[in-house]
């Protein structure tokens, strides 16, 4: 297992660079790496216990592999496969596949590491690979979006590094476990880095522009797996160190509301999907114990939605209302929208039920509102007109990618089949019904435009200092044991108001 893991980490980097020397078989090599990851994820699910090992000494690399990482790795493998299928017939150069595979490998590495420095290295490799992928079209806009992404993530990672050395100072080890007993500023700095990287709460407002302005396959990859590289360490820390669990849950609830709040008013399909990424990441964090399953369903559904949105005739939802979509595409779109809204028969349902079961009492209202908001904004897709136009300009690669992703959604139902009880089924149906009602009565006609000021580059960096102060304050409260969770939650909302 140890040897296999090391081969599995090293292979994407090795193949990634050799692809450049063998451009003719680039696609096949990339496919091989993704399939290998898929196999590895399945092996992990067969492990009975958590597999943990250290390379070198107690300040060396620490890797932890269990079901949770299995779910994340499976998501990564499936999304990468789908993206490769989608690009199969396109004229993407070997450079593109190099970056895809290096990105795939570094995201994989984040899903098993359990110390802050290997995490740092993996996250930075992700930044570089993602930068190159976003800037792939070489247009001014894409370069600017990519630069903006790199600035935000690199600044966040600098704060993270300071946090990491503070953990080392108190424990002489970089292990995640070291968060317990570290000074609050260490935790705050590390969290700032991870929140910004994972697109959580206000530090995640870089995400909508970046994900919506990238090319279709790249945004599928970014939204499907790359942001999870920032989320996974948060989940892992919450599971390893029980003290940070309430804070992760607070961020889960607030970010899911923030994302949904923006998404219901959004008129641009890709931006709406990007805001939903912010919101769905909140669902993963809201119940860290079961975050893995939610991450899997979200990865599958969001990448398929981005791939579908990429071939719709327009990005503007208002214009789409007057254009008929080809029926097969519409069916795929509706299936994905149903899954993300939590409709039974698709695994989005099971994931949502499982998450809702593991919430703390104070989170329930927030998460239900977020679920309702999800139903409202996906009604925008479901009620689009469709017709059998027959003029199919869609490549076969698109259909194989969508079949893989949606098929995955159906099969993943088996992971938590206990969800299918009458009570569990009625609740999402009511939520969806209410959502559709609200959509028809109000949101369809609403012309509210939320300001995009908070998404400007300078504000993104500036908000980091605010989030840092907030985190300091949350963790100091935690250290003193004075602050109750509900209390900090309230003040959180006040701050939230101020920022908006």
């Amino acid at each position: 297992m140890k040897a296999l893991t090391i081969i599995w980490i090293a292979l994407p980097l090795f193949i990634g660079f050799s692809i450049y020397l063998l451009p003719r078989i680039a696609r096949y090599l990339a496919l091989g790496v993704a399939i290998f990851s898929l196999g590895y994820a399945l092996i992990i699910f067969n492990l009975t216990s958590t597999f943990e090992f250290k390379l070198l000494d107690n300040f060396g690399v620490i890797l932890v592999i269990d079901n949770l990482s299995g779910f994340f790795i499976l998501t990564n493998a499936l999304v990468t496969l789908a993206v490769l299928f989608y690009c199969w017939q396109s004229d993407k150069t070997a450079f593109f596949y190099t970056q895809i595979i290096i990105l795939h490998g570094s995201v994989n590495a984040t899903f098993i590491c359990a110390d802050f420095i290997s995490l740092y290295v993996a996250l930075e490799v992700i930044s570089i690979a993602a930068f190159l992928l976003i800037a792939y079209p070489r247009s001014d806009r894409s370069i600017w979006v990519a630069l903006r992404y790199l600035f935000v993530s690199n600044t966040a990672m600098l704060f993270y590094l300071v946090g990491a050395v503070l953990v080392y100072q108190s424990h002489h080890s970089f292990s995640f476990v070291g968060l317990r007993g570290s000074p609050p500023e260490a935790m705050a700095l590390i969290f700032l880095g991870l929140l910004a990287k994972g697109g959580i709460f206000v530090s995640g407002l870089w995400l909508p522009l970046t994900h919506s302005e990238s090319e279709t396959p790249v945004s599928a990859m970014l939204s499907g797996v790359v942001v999870k590289a920032g989320v996974y360490p948060l989940v892992r820390c919450a599971l390893m160190v029980s003290e940070v669990d309430p804070i992760v849950r607070i961020f889960g609830a607030t970010t899911s509301l923030l994302g949904v709040g923006y998404a219901v008013f959004e008129k641009d399909s890709k931006r709406m999907l990007a805001f939903h990424t912010v919101s769905q990441l909140g669902f993963i964090l809201a119940a860290p114990e079961v975050g893995g399953f939610y991450a899997l369903t979200h990865g599958l559904v969001k990448s398929s939605l981005f791939l579908i949105a990429g071939i719709l005739p327009s990005r503007n939802l208002k214009e789409l209302k007057h254009m008929a979509i080809d029926t097969p595409i519409w069916i795929a779109l509706v299936m994905a929208s149903f899954s993300i809204s939590g409709f039974p028969l698709l695994s989005g349902f099971g994931a949502k039920v499982l998450t809702m079961k593991n919430l703390l009492p104070w989170q329930v209202i927030a998460m239900n509102i977020a679920a309702l908001g999800t139903a409202i904004s996906f009604a925008k897709f479901i009620f689009l007109p469709h017709a059998r136009t027959g003029e199919s300009h869609v490549k076969a690669g698109f259909w194989s990618a969508i079949t893989l992703l949606l098929g995955g959604l159906i099969i993943a139902n088996g992971i938590y089949y206990e969800a299918y009880s009458v009570n569990n089924i009625i609740k999402p149906l009511i939520t969806i019904f209410l959502g559709w009602l609200a959509y028809h009565l109000f949101f369809q006609k609403a012309i509210i435009q939320l300001s995009r000021t908070a998404e400007e580059f300078n504000h993104l960096i500036g908000v980091m200092s605010l989030v840092l102060i907030l985190l300091f304050w949350l963790f100091f409260g935690l250290g003193n044991g004075l602050q109750t969770t509900a209390n900090s939650y309230l003040s959180f909302q006040i701050l939230f108001h101020h920022i908006l």
């Binding site: 190159l132 690199n154 300071v162 050395v165 080392y168």
Partner: protein, 114 residues
């Protein structure tokens, strides 16, 4: 004392990143900030002493801790490559936006409100 200077470096880098208009200056500010972070690692590793940790017969206990220094070496390399990438991006952008003012670039390259 040294710690305060280091934090001042990090902060001035950060403020430069926020308040400087020119994209080039922002990159330089980020470099200042990362210099501060690197210095902080060096400072923390020298808490117990300044001697190079080399195995020899005459043992002194005031060795500098090699781990943070080794770790920050990785970060320096990564920082360098990111700076290089950013500069290439800025070179490309400079062809159409010779002043490199962030506000202008942002205005030209962000989708208009629908």
């Amino acid at each position: 004392m040294l710690e305060a200077f280091i934090f001042a470096t990090i902060l001035s880098g950060f403020f430069g990143l926020v308040f400087k208009e020119n994209l080039m200056m922002k990159i330089i500010s980020m470099d200042v900030m990362s210099t501060g972070v690197i210095a902080y690692y060096v400072l923390i590793s020298s808490r117990n002493g300044l001697f190079t940790p080399i195995f020899s017969d005459n043992t002194t206990n005031n060795y500098a801790d090699p781990v943070p220094q080794a770790v920050i070496l990785t970060a320096i390399v990564i920082g360098l490559s990111i700076q290089a990438l950013m500069l290439v991006g800025v070179m490309k952008l400079a062809q159409n936006n010779p002043t490199l003012e962030t506000k202008e670039i942002e205005k030209n390259n962000t989708p208009m409100k629908s």
